[in-house]
Structures are given as C-alpha cells and as structure tokens.
C-alpha cells in the first residue's frame, strides 16, 4: 500500500511547476553565459571534432568545416553546449534514479513492435539532425531559447516545428495511438 502511494507521488512533476523551473534554468543560462540552452550544437561539435581528427585534410578544405572554424576559436569540444549536454545526461540520470525510472527498454505503443519503433526513432533522428542544422538550432536552442529573447527567427522555427509535426501527425498515428 505504502509503495503505491510512493510511486504515485514520485511519478512526474506538475508540468506548470516543471515549466517554471525550466524557465529559471534558461534564465540562469542567459544571466551567466549570455546565451540560452541547446542540444544540437553539442552534436555539431562532436561531428566537427571527429571529422577533424579522422580526416584532417578533408576538414581543412570542406566548406562546412571551414566556416565552423571561422566562427569558433579553439577546440570544437571546448564548447559551452558540450559541457551543458554532459550535464543533461547527469541530471536526467539523477532524476531517473530518484524516481525509480532507470531501466533499459524500448518504449513503444503496444500496437507496434520494438523493431518498428526503433526504425522510426532512427529516421526521426536523421530528420531532426538535418533540420536542426538548417534551423540553426533545435527545440531547445532555437525554439525555447529564441522565445525567451523574443527572437523572430526562433519563434518562426518553433511554429514550423510544431506545425510540421501536427501536419504529419495523421500519417504516423499508428505509431502512437
């Protein structure tokens, strides 16, 4: 009996309280670093860093990597978002540990197989990866952080992300409902 109460209590945080806390984290980022939160930028850092290591000649000549070097000084891994994303992994893990949610599993609707879920997860990741580069940031860096500083581009990207997902929701409904 007591166990049920405990698991009910620790299930998820009230979304409005969670939202205020998220806003305070984002405010702290802006106050301390003068910039918002982000995720895809850290992936870009890893992509640039690995390419520079594995194929230095290519990285020196290819435009994408040349432009990155012009815009950023120092090692691509010594980057604000890389440190922030390492923190996200730690914070997510600690929260999951407190809430008793640490478990290896493929989460999916009972109506689809794990295999189907993983194929669509991979596809979704690929699309999000490409889109985040074009959009100069993802849901965190462009949409959320952009909204906090009233960036026109950030708010446009936000509407395009959610609008695009709603427009396609019908076609992918079998994966979720």
């Amino acid at each position: 009996m007591e166990k049920t109460t405990l698991s009910n209590r620790t299930k998820y945080l009230n979304p409005y309280i969670g939202g205020v806390l998220l806003g305070l984290v984002l405010l702290a980022a802006n106050f301390i670093a003068g910039r918002g939160l982000g995720a895809s930028g850290a992936i870009k850092s890893v992509v640039v860093s690995t390419t520079q290591t594995v194929a230095p000649k290519y990285a020196e000549n290819a435009r994408f990597f040349k432009e990155y070097k012009e815009e950023h000084s120092g090692s691509p891994m010594k980057n604000w978002l890389v440190f922030q994303m390492l923190g996200v992994l730690v914070g997510g893990f600690v929260s999951g540990a407190f809430a008793g949610r640490l478990k290896f599993k493929v989460e999916h609707s009972p109506k689809i197989t794990s295999r189907r879920r993983l194929i669509f997860a991979l596809l979704g990741g690929i699309f999000f990866g490409v889109g985040s580069q074009l959009g100069r940031g993802c849901t965190s860096g462009s949409a959320l952080s952009g909204m906090a500083v009233l960036s026109f581009g950030g708010i446009i990207t936000m509407m395009a992300i959610f609008g695009g997902a709603y427009a396609l929701a019908w076609f992918f409904r079998k994966n979720w409902i």
């Binding site: 106050f31 992936i43 604000w80 440190f83 993983l118 999000f128 990866g129 997902a165 929701a169």
Partner: protein
C-alpha cells in the same frame, strides 16, 4: 552586471563549469516532467498528453519575464544577450524537417539525451540518427548552403518587427500561453490517455 561571462565577471573556465551545472538542472527538470518518454512527448500531437505545451510555454514565458525584469533592475544588459539570427527560409524549412523528425522519432535532441540517460533504447537510436543527420548535412553542405544562407534578416526581435514594446509583447504572449493552457486542459479530458 550580467551576463557574467560576456562582461568578464567570471572566467571562461568558470563559464564552462557553470554550463555543466546548468545542464544538470536542465536534464533533471526535463526528466522530472516526463520528457524522457517519447509516448508522453508525442501526446501533444494527438491530444492525449499536453505536457510538452505546458512545460515549454511556462518555461519560455518564465525566462522571458525574468530577463525583462532583470533588465529593468539593471541586473542584465539585454544588448549583450545572444538573440538568434533570422534566416527566414531556412528557419521555416529546417523547422518543418524537425517537425517531421519529431512525429517520427518522438523526441527532440534535448529530450532524447534525457531518455538515453535513464536507459531508453529508442532514445539512444534517435541520438544515433541525429549524428547521421548532422554528418549528412556537414558532408552534403554544398546541397544545403544556398538555402541555409538565403533571406538573412539580422537578429530582429518579434516585438520590434510588429512595432510593440518588449513588455507589451510579453504581456500578449502570457495571455496567449494562459489561453493555450486552458485549451490543453480541455483537450486532455477529451482524448483518452492510456497508462504508459
């Protein structure tokens, strides 16, 4: 006073350390809200769970109001805070591609790291996809470059563009957010939620 790092009040290494601390807060809050679950996130698009909208807009509005008040109190110089630049065409196309990724994958980049941190294998595969996507973009950059650099508009604020002060625009956004919260509470009652 603020931003601390831009004004050299803290060193670059302290800034990196604080990035890590801020990241812990970010990951902790996302996971506490249930953003480590793709089924919970995708609920937004089918109406059975509107947690994304509630957390996202409460967070955005809180940070926005915080920055405006900090600026009013003289605690932060908004002119030194990074405002994302606007390239209209790539913002729209990139956003739509991300939307497709969201509905297929059930995560966005930040939330996928959160899911992976607690052992979600679908989140780890999503991250693998993210890397493939960014490598593809980097190696195929000549294909994307024209679109990426099209229609540059500088870094305008939406308030300036529609001719309102930041404060008035913020007030409108707060009212819109409250309206959306009201609607999403109603939507959740309308569409049944399974246990997951």
């Amino acid at each position: 006073m603020g931003p601390l790092a831009v004004n050299d009040i803290i060193s670059s290494n302290t800034n990196f350390f604080l990035a890590f601390v801020i990241g812990i807060g970010f990951g902790f809050v996302l996971e506490q809200c249930g953003f480590s679950s793709s089924r919970k996130l995708a609920g937004l698009f089918y109406g059975y769970d509107m947690v994304v909208l509630k957390v996202f807009f409460t967070g955005g509005v809180t940070a926005m109001l915080g920055l405006l008040f900090f600026s009013l109190f003289g605690w932060v110089d908004l002119g030194m805070v990074y405002v994302n630049p606007t390239f209209l065409a790539s913002a729209v196309v990139g956003g739509l591609i991300m939307g497709a990724g969201f509905i297929m994958g059930g995560f966005c980049p930040g939330t996928s790291f959160c899911g992976a941190a607690i052992g979600k294998i679908d989140a780890m595969i999503f991250i693998l996809g993210l890397f493939i996507g960014v490598y593809f973009y980097a190696f195929g950059y000549p294909l994307f470059e024209t679109l990426y650099k099209a229609t540059p508009m500088g870094s305008p604020k939406i308030s300036t563009m529609i001719g309102l002060s930041d404060g008035i625009f913020a007030l409108i956004l707060v009212v819109v957010a409250l309206g959306m919260f009201y609607v999403s509470e109603w939507v959740e009652k309308t569409f049944p939620r399974e246990e997951y």
